[in-house]
Each structure stands twice: as structure tokens, then as C-alpha cells.
Symmetry: C2
Subunit: 379 residues, 2 copies
């Protein structure tokens, strides 16, 4: 095990009607609230009215930023941050899925400064304080609700990647699985594979921690057992609950303690597919992961076999494990080749953009040659 | 799953030479430090000098309370709290095992008040603030280093039990497995069975959470795999590390999220054996758990079989599981009957003290008749 210092300061409010606790939490902050959300689906579901009801009850002065896109962009962050800065908001309330919460995170560190959020990404500036962030999660997937990471895109720079700072932990996150019952079939599936991929990224990272490995297997087993069942029964609260809890635990630090690093090469490549073709994040991961494992199936043979044997609870070789994982993604109705999404392929363009974004992996280094071969394997 | 609100605010500093980070942490608190430790083993190992070195470097004014007993008593808490109150200490530094840290926790809430710590136990008073507590752990066992619980005894009231308050979370806990290498064979074993028993108490609690169940199995499997190996190789740092990490994760909230309650009936009975006969905590648990499971082997047949099958990774019935768990405790050189400790048995006295302490279980209620039968089974 590697040395580590760990504290996860996010308070998780989990369960049916968890939002009942929102009013009390809001009262610990000032009255000025920046409300951030997506393209209005929370208005259709009634969540917007419910949240506004709570905000009115605590006599909040609400400033709204509507229209965060999926695969969120840094331009929205700057505009929303300017709004928050102008009105000196005390707290940000982000209501939505990973895109909205990730944007909320960037907004929280951009409000206190006079430069664009992009300066954080380019390391021109380092965040030193943040406006407190409260999240209401409507999609079980990214785990952003309880971690210090955020993913953002900047199209004119051909950029999409993750960013991390301890200041990005939400202060509070409200997770009511009922809010995810309206998530359509495909995005439900993308969320399930996203949480599985987060476990894999920890698994293939550097540094051995046997107990963290067991936790990783546990979370993936949960997704394997209840994920396909949920796709057959989208209104099942109990299954929604299991997947929502698993998604949070898949990327809140638990799987990483004592490890030197995660891997994240597949996420790096997947982000580029999303950037170029607006492919949903989860789908990009199921396209890239089998190819990545095939490419590294000799070098990572032991780890791949151990992963497959662990999650499927039977003795499997590396190639057998890859096959079973591909089958799992298929059973979750996710693409395992880029062509399955209907995208006209362009290896050159993908490889160029991978280069611009310096996608290079971590524990399994990705040189130009590796990237080319992986792209060929998933086209 | 049950609704829950969760945040564990303790910062864990884990690994070889983790204490190197102590100086920086101390600087965030005031200069007046109440140093609490046991009967001087930290002086023999050199840890005392090392800690005093760090304290001198930050120019701390140190007030010492030496002599916390194992199976700690509330009288020590009151004396140490009076010392801290008199000198208006800014922070408590508890250096030792569970007894020292649990005492440190009670001291932290007793310093700010004018009444004895006992008033918290009897619910005459409720803690409203606490002096920050920093822990340096020297024994992998109780998990107190990252949770809001503490166990204390008061002999003239024939009392020993746990107590909980969110104020009891340590601010920081330093866990260097090297500090546990000097722990003798028997106490090493008691620590391993303590962490296993904590997992069992979560397992037999009320409310089903499939992912928490998987985490429980993971932690026990880790203890089963590396615990007996450690007893054969006490100086093995890697094994010390695995057990120390597992012990922390066994009782820091992870195993309990989404459950209605833990069980804790066995701990309740075990505390009474420690109170009456000064039996080490871990040994009291290996004496009581098999008897408790045998008594409930019909009512809890499903859960016992699932536990045994999970932790030993083979299909076992409830009686087979109990047998295997008893064998496991034996392989860890722990007693599974009271008589094995050489204690002259007295069922009546045990049952009376169980009654005085209102030991009654939680999910599996313990009536007088149940207690009598369990005592008979472990005599």
C-alpha cells in the first residue's frame, strides 16, 4: 500500500425523499443562491417546482443559470460564474446529473476569481477558495456527487478532460433514487457502465491494495447483479437505489485508498470520442474498454484475469475475462464498437485529437502507437 | 435500504512514517496540548520521545495524563478532563490503542463542561462541544480512530458500554502500521477478531443493504486471509498494514450505510465479561459470538449461512458456518469458551450484571432467558 491522507468532507443525504433535509441544510448558508441546472428536464419532472418551493420557504434570493449541456462546456461555466460573482451568491445549488454538478464545481471555484475557468485547466491559476456547493443528483453515474473531480470541454481548443482539486468536493449531496426513475433506458445503462468503468480505472491503476481490490469487485458485482435487472424494470425503486448507491461508492475514494494512482487511460480516450462525436460518456467507455484490454492483454494478463474471475466469481483467463466483460456491456445494451453508434469512422482525426489532448494513460502508458492500435480495435 | 445522512469528518493519515505529517497538523491548532497515553509502553518503544520531539518543534505547551488503563474507566476521564480544563488546552493528543483513544474522546467532551463524564452516559447531559482530538494509533483493533463511538467502564456502577456522539469523531488519526509491529501475539490476535466481530455486528443488524453486505464480506475475507498469516510472522510490515487498514474500515460507517441498525448484542455481553473478569475485549467476543450464533441458529439461519458462505467462499449451512467461524477464532488462538481463559465460572453473577447493564441486543432481542442460554453455551 501507498501512504495516503484521506477525508471525504461531503455530507451524503441518501434515500427516498432525502430532499426533505434540504431546507435545514440551506439555512446554514446565506440567502443568495445560484441555482444551476440543465435544459429544463427538471421542469418537466416537477423537481424544479419542488426545489423552488424549498428555496422560497427559506426566503432565498435565487439567481438561475439554466441550460448546462450534457458533455458540459467551459463557456457556460464562465457565464454562470459571472452571474454568481455579480450577485455575490453565498451558495450554489446544482440540480441535475454529472454535467450540471461538474459545471457547478467549476463555477464554485471561478466565482471568487477574475479570470476565466480555463486558466485552472491550463494551470495558469490554482483555485484557492470555492463557494459552497450543494447538489441534487438526478442521474446515477459519474460519482461526482461525492468526489473532488469535474470533467469539462472546450470545443475551440479541441479539449475534454477531468480536473481535480480538494475544493471541488460538494458540501452536501442529496441522492433520492426516486429522482432517477424517469431516466430513460439508454442513459440508465450508460450510468451503470460508467460506474463499472470507474471501478476498472481504479483496478488497473498502480499500486496494490488488496482490500481496495475487494471493494472494487464488490461494487462491480453489485452492478452486474442489479444493472441488467434494472434495464428490464426501469420503475423499480429498489434497483434504482442499489445502482445509485453503487455509483457513488465507485468514485468517492473508497476504491483508491492505498493505491499509487488510478489508470484513466480509457476515460481519456472516451472523452475524445465524446468531444468529437457527442457520444454519451458511458457509451464511449464501453467502446474503448474492451479494445484497451485487448491491446494490453499480455502486459496486464494477470490483472485482467483476476478482475474477470473476481467480478464473475469463476476462474477465467484474460481473454475469457475480456469476452465476458464485452458480453456484459452488450447485455447492458451499450455499444462495444464505435461503428455500432452509426458514427462514420476517422482514425486519423481521433488520433490527432488524442494527441492534442495529450491522452497518455497513467499506469499503462499510451504512446502514439498504442493509441493507434486501440483505435483500430474499437472502430 | 434505509435513508441515511453520512459524513465521516476524520482525516486519516495512513502508512509508513505517517507521523511525519503530525507537525503540520498540530500547527492548525493552538499551542496547549493535552497528551494522553497508557501505562508507559509508548515510553519503552520510543514513540513517546518521538511525539515529544514533534511537540517541541511546534513549541507546544504539553500537559500529560499518563496511565489510561486497558478496559478504560471513567474516573481517569474526569481527572484528565480537569487537567485539560484547568490549563484551557486547545487540542488533545491521544497516543495508544482503543482504550486511550476512547478515553481521549470522553475527555474531549468533558473538558468543556462542569459535570462528570458519567452524566453523559446516564443521559443527564448531552455533549454540545468538544476539544479537537488527534489520535496516534498503536493497535489495530477497535476502529475508534475513525468513528464517533467510545467504550468506557465504571466499576462501582458495574457498568461497561459504548457511547456515541458525532462530536466523538477524531479530527485527525495517524495510523503507521510500524507502530503495531511491537504488539504482542495475543493482542494482535484480539485485534483481528475484534475487527471481524465488528463486521458481524453490522451483518446481523436490521435492514438489508446488499452493497454494505459485500463490503462486510470483503473486510472479513481480508482478515481471514492475512490475520492467521500475521500471527505466524508478527514483524511483517505488509501484513500489519493490511490488518490495520481493515480494522479501520470495519467500523467507520462503511459497513452500516443504508442499514437500520447494527446488532451489538454480542458486544454488550462481551463488555460484561471484560468488566467482571478483565478479559481482553477481543477474547470476550470470540467467547460470546459462537454461543450467540448457536442460540439464534434457527431464527438467523439464513443470515448465518450467507455470512459463512460469503466469508469462506463456499456453500455452507448455518451450523457449518458456526463451526467454521469457531475454527477461525481458534486458528487465531482466541478462546471460544470462558473456561478456556481459566476463569472460574459463575452464571448467576454474569446474568445479574447483564441485567444491571440492561444488555438487550438490538435486531435480535436478548431477554433474560436468551441471556441465560447464551451464557450456558459459552461457559
Amino acid at each position: 500500500m501507498e501512504n495516503f491522507v484521506f477525508c471525504n468532507p461531503t455530507t451524503l443525504h441518501f434515500g427516498k425523499n432525502a430532499l426533505d433535509g434540504l431546507k435545514e441544510v440551506l439555512q446554514h448558508y446565506g440567502r443568495k443562491v445560484l441555482l444551476v441546472y440543465g435544459k429544463g428536464s427538471i421542469k418537466k419532472t416537477g423537481l424544479y417546482d419542488k426545489v423552488m418551493g424549498y428555496l422560497n420557504e427559506v426566503q432565498a434570493e435565487v439567481f438561475e443559470y439554466e441550460g448546462i449541456r450534457s458533455n458540459p462546456v467551459i463557456e457556460d461555466v464562465d457565464i454562470a460564474a459571472a452571474l454568481g460573482r455579480k450577485h455575490k451568491v453565498d451558495v450554489i445549488l446544482a440540480v441535475g446529473g454529472g454535467s450540471v454538478i461538474d459545471s457547478g464545481k467549476f463555477i464554485s471555484i471561478t466565482i471568487p476569481v477574475q479570470h476565466p475557468a480555463w486558466d485552472f485547466i491550463t494551470r495558469k491559476a490554482k483555485p484557492e477558495k470555492a463557494v459552497p456547493l450543494i447538489c441534487i443528483l438526478t442521474l446515477a453515474a459519474t460519482g461526482t456527487e461525492m468526489n473532488p473531480f469535474a470533467v469539462i470541454s472546450k470545443h475551440d481548443a479541441n479539449f475534454k478532460d477531468g480536473y481535480g482539486s480538494p475544493l471541488l468536493y460538494p458540501a452536501h449531496s442529496f441522492l433520492d433514487p426516486q429522482l432517477t426513475v424517469t431516466v430513460p433506458r439508454n442513459y440508465t445503462a450508460y450510468g451503470i457502465v460508467d460506474l463499472i468503468a470507474h471501478c476498472f480505472e481504479a483496478w488497473f491503476g498502480a499500486g496494490e491494495t488488496t482490500l481496495s481490490d475487494r471493494f472494487i469487485i464488490s461494487i462491480v458485482q453489485e452492478a452486474i447483479k442489479y444493472g441488467p435487472a434494472l434495464l428490464k424494470d426501469l420503475n423499480n425503486y429498489d434497483l434504482r437505489e442499489k445502482i445509485m448507491y453503487a455509483a457513488t461508492m465507485a468514485l468517492n475514494g473508497l476504491t483508491m485508498q492505498g493505491k499509487k494512482s488510478g489508470e484513466w487511460g480509457v476515460h481519456g480516450i472516451g472523452h475524445i470520442l465524446s468531444l468529437l462525436y457527442d457520444i454519451p460518456h458511458g457509451a464511449s467507455l464501453t467502446i474503448v474498454y474492451p479494445a484497451w484490454m485487448k491491446h494490453f492483454q499480455e502486459r496486464a494478463a494477470g490483472r485482467i484475469a483476476l478482475l474477470g474471475s473476481g467480478i464473475f466469481n469463476e476462474s477465467l483467463t484474460a481473454p475469457e475475462s475480456i469476452k465476458r466483460i464485452e458480453d456484459l456491456f452488450r447485455s447492458l445494451e451499450c455499444p462495444v464498437r464505435l461503428s455500432e453508434t452509426g458514427i462514420v469512422t476517422d482514425k486519423q482525426k481521433i488520433c490527432e485529437t488524442l494527441g492534442i489532448n495529450k491522452v497518455s494513460g497513467s499506469n499503462y502508458k499510451l504512446k502514439e502507437e498504442d493509441l493507434g492500435k486501440i483505435v483500430e480495435l474499437f472502430l
